[in-house]
């Protein structure tokens, strides 16, 4: 799970406040106002199909994204590729875990 912070308008506080955002993969899972704790989250029923569809999109677009990266900086791409491959299983286990533990 990735955590980001940003200022968004909170309708409960009626002003712009800091919010904490949780992502599963590249999919937004929940947003919580840091002041009043009002939380919006995708229900488990909606999150899983959305995640599967998004994962499919990620897999399909992966070759093109890798090609872009390789074309932009071939040396850095070659240097980082082994580590990126090794990190993938752990990354997906963490994503799946964050989805099923809700």
């Amino acid at each position: 799970m990735t955590i980001e912070h940003a200022q968004l308008y909170c309708e409960t506080c009626e002003t712009v406040t800091n919010h904490e955002l949780h992502y599963a993969g590249r999919l937004l899972e929940s947003v919580q106002c840091s002041v009043c704790q009002t939380q919006f989250e995708l229900s488990q029923r909606a999150l899983l199909p959305a995640y599967v569809k998004d994962l499919e999109g990620r897999i399909v677009s992966k070759p093109r994204r890798m090609l872009h990266r390789a074309a932009r900086d071939p040396l850095a791409f070659a240097r980082q590729l082994p580590g990126a491959i090794l990190r993938q299983p752990r990354k997906f286990v963490r994503e799946f875990w964050s989805l099923i533990r809700r």
Partner: protein
């Protein structure tokens, strides 16, 4: 400041447009906060989505991104990762939207003076779902009439008190907004001399020029990220469009389903 980025191809009518993306937010908020346009949205940062769809148009020959000074390093990293060449010119914005627009136009002034830019398209980076066709429409309308803004009729509005009468026609104005480059730059130079601060680009144009501002149909999906729910909605709208808002102009049409690859014999 990096040098202005240009591409060789022009639009079908020879119109050359500069894209200005406003990502500085409201600089008047004193406290430090993460800029919402830097948030991830379906695999990209919010602000790079609209740059991607707009720059599919051959009309777009220059791109200027207006950012907060404290976001500059992060923005440069994201641009290197997510935006293809030609390079985007990054400028630091002012305290208001008007000042940020002035900074962008000042950066474009040499190109406008040299006659290299006919139209300037100004877009709010917090509207990541503006599709390629909308950019094409405002550029074409601005080139023909002088200025163009996308609007949505708000027919559902009503008076909150009995003695209030709602105007007969109310519209919500969106971005991208496009204007002829020379009058736009002149208007902002005069506004600076008068210390006038407009609420949006059209207000400055209306005050200092006689250019007609043409209203074109906006898009219900062209939402502005303001509330937390907007991020969920933007994500779903992008997924529904298979992450492709190119209106068929993209050289890399998204093939979102594994079965599409099976049909073409490709493997992920």
């Amino acid at each position: 400041m990096s040098s202005p980025a240009t591409s060789a191809a022009f639009g079908p009518d020879g119109v050359r447009a500069a894209l200005v993306v406003l990502a500085a937010g409201d600089g008047r908020r004193a406290e430090h906060h993460t800029n919402k346009v830097l948030l991830p949205l379906a695999g990209r940062r919010v602000f790079t989505w609209s740059i991607r769809w707009a720059r599919l148009l051959p009309e777009i020959t220059h791109t200027v991104l207006v950012v907060r000074d404290e976001d500059r390093d992060v923005v440069q990293e994201v641009l290197a990762r997510e935006v293809e060449p030609p390079a985007v010119q990054v400028v630091t914005g002012g305290d208001t939207r008007h000042e940020s627009e002035l900074e962008a136009l000042t950066a474009l002034a040499p190109g406008i003076d040299a006659g290299e830019i006919d139209v300037v398209v100004i877009h709010d980076a917090a509207r990541p779902l503006a599709h390629t066709g909308l950019f094409a429409d405002v550029i074409a309308a601005a080139a023909e009439h002088g200025g163009a803004i996308p609007v949505r009729h708000q027919r559902h509005l009503t008076a909150s008190r009995d003695d209030d009468r709602p105007p007969p026609s109310v519209v919500a104005v969106q971005t991208p907004q496009a204007f002829l480059a020379r009058p736009l730059l002149d208007a902002y130079v005069r506004a600076k001399e008068d210390e006038f601060v407009g609420t949006d680009t059209a207000s400055c144009i209306e005050r200092y020029t006689d250019l007609p501002v043409w209203c074109i149909p906006g898009d219900a999906g062209n939402i502005k990220i303001t509330f937390p729910e907007d991020l969920f909605l933007a994500e779903r709208l992008l997924a529904k469009a298979h992450w492709d808002l190119s209106d068929g102009t993209s050289p890399h049409r998204e093939r979102p389903h594994l079965r599409d690859l099976r049909h073409t014999g490709e493997h992920p």
